[in-house]
Amino acid sequence: MPSRRRALLILLSLATALLASVAVSLATGSVALSPGEVLRALIGDEGGLGGEVVRSLRLPRALAGLACGGLLALAGALMQVLLKNPLADPYVLGISGGASVGALAAMLFGLPLMLLHAGAFGGALAAMLLVFGLAHGDGSWTQTRLLLTGVIVAAGCGALVALMLSIAPEFQLRGMLFWLMGDLSQAESPWPALVILLLGLACVLPFSRDLGLLARGEISAQVLGVPVDGLRLLIYALASLFTAVAVNVAGSIGFIGLIVPHLVRLAAGNDLRLLLPASVLAGGTLLVVADTLARILVAPQQLPVGVLTALLGVPVFLYLLSRQPERSGP
């Protein structure tokens, strides 16, 4: 169990890493800028091309990456508590499946970008309500039932996505695939996602010790005075909302929600008072770094960032699994 001081030190160093990743992301790209130029651009002194690039292109994109990475990592940590399963991630309950169906349908019918976002968000919420409604059907609410319902709904959404891809006209396919793989270049204003991330964190942090008990089992948590039912509903709703918002901004980006909580857990232990904020910072850093790489690796072409997080995530995750076979799943 980390002491409060050690927890603050870890959070401080993660925050520094996040700031550094954002700074690098602002300075790199087709127009390379010095740190001084970036700083001047941020405070609005730098006119010309550099200032324009930083203020209207790179900064919104970096902040969107930060917000989405933080949201996905936080949602993943919460889902792992909710399902008491270290393998849970934000997409396991079919939320991104629903969002993909909504977004691809909007693309298929040639709807404008705003309706595409509405479609993605609506699809995510619809999948979330469907899973919750079905899993709650008989009044009981076991995590196995929730998990099964989510996996089934996700599979159904996958089939719908495949159907839409197969009947989509050629010229729409590329956009659809990029959306499915996660892409921050479409990100509009990052502020709503950032605000939701901060508000969500403020909702969750006061309950982080209760959540730690919940992850150890409902009965013992309830005996120790944790309002189990209300808390489970809260984290289900919040994790779904975080995922829906992140998917809405950047498409479906895999592995952040799964590996970041595990990386933090390995490095700093399983105390949720530290794990939750540390996951937000580490998730934001990872996505900002991945997106910077996606922009510059094969410039001027851009890669979908979801491909990079998965390429980084798969080996790390396999390594973790093989390292701790005894800890996988209840």
């Binding site: 008491k84 089992g217 009965i219 120790l224 800890r327």
Partner: protein, 264 residues
């Protein structure tokens, strides 16, 4: 307000006409029980006779099918969850460890109801956790990962976690499961010590009628069909009543003052 509005503090736990049902089957009917501080009560019954369900109902974890429960003079609805957690604790039958944790961390979770929302466990909490770990014979294992413990060690850790919670009323669901003989005796002596020194109350589901007779002042027999019988252990625990309870003939053997039951 209370049933016996006298000068004394209300009993730790009072039930009036309590019924426990599972899937439409009534396991316990019209249970009237009162437990004061310092008292120990054993619950005996066959598998599926409702011992666990009754304990969970008494802990306020599941609603009573009928009747009334009062913890320290007030129903659970009038206790905030945290306040109730400072008054009663439960040793559950199963312990899940989905995520890694050390022995000390696990013992410290019992301190949860005593900490404020933003508090972290302090030196005092750690001292309590280390002391209870030592009292169940787990001193020296504080840094061990929980999933490396044996079944008996895990059970003793669960008991230590409950002790670090420091409630007034202890509800123990088969505390002797997985324990070897010497640790069974150690745990029951711990129960006796807490009952006399801390004036805590204990309700203990047990399968060993001899240990119940020796260590618990009172006994509650659950027949599983709604009937129950409660009274001082020495009176309630007889060869006849136990034979009926378990559906298997038992014989009583006397060894000086001590009485023992063996399966016939």
């Amino acid at each position: 307000m209370t049933a016996n509005a006298d000068r004394d503090a209300p009993p730790l736990l009072v039930t009036q006409s309590l019924a426990v049902t599972i899937a439409g089957r009534t396991l316990v009917r019209s249970l009237d029980l009162s437990l004061r501080r310092g008292e120990t009560l054993a619950i005996l019954g066959r598998n599926g006779s409702g011992k666990t369900s009754l304990l969970h109902t008494l802990a306020g974890l599941r609603p009573a099918a009928a009747g009334r429960i009062e913890l320290c003079g007030r129903p659970y609805a009038e206790h905030a969850p945290r306040a109730a957690a400072q008054l009663r604790g439960l040793l559950a039958q199963t312990h899940s460890d989905a995520f890694p944790a050390s022995v000390l961390e696990t013992a410290l979770i019992g301190r949860h109801p005593h900490l404020g929302r933003w508090d972290w466990e302090g030196a005092g909490d750690e001292r309590i956790a280390r002391a209870v770990l030592a009292s169940v014979g787990l001193a020296g294992l504080e840094a061990r990962e929980v999933h490396t413990l044996s079944g008996g060690e895990r059970q003793r850790l669960a008991i230590a976690t409950l002790l670090s919670q420091q409630p007034l009323l202890y509800l123990l669901d088969e505390p002797l499961a997985h324990l070897d003989l010497s640790h069974q005796i150690l745990m029951l002596e711990l129960v006796q010590r807490y009952a006399t020194e801390c004036q805590a109350g204990f309700i203990v589901a047990l399968h060993d009628m001899n240990l119940a007779l020796r260590y618990c002042q009172r006994a509650l027999l659950l027949y599983g069909d709604g009937r129950w019988k409660e009274g001082p252990s020495a009176e309630v625990l007889t060869a006849a009543s136990l034979s009926e309870l378990y559906g298997h003939a038992l014989r009583e053997i006397s060894d000086g003052d001590a009485r023992h039951f063996i399966a016939a």
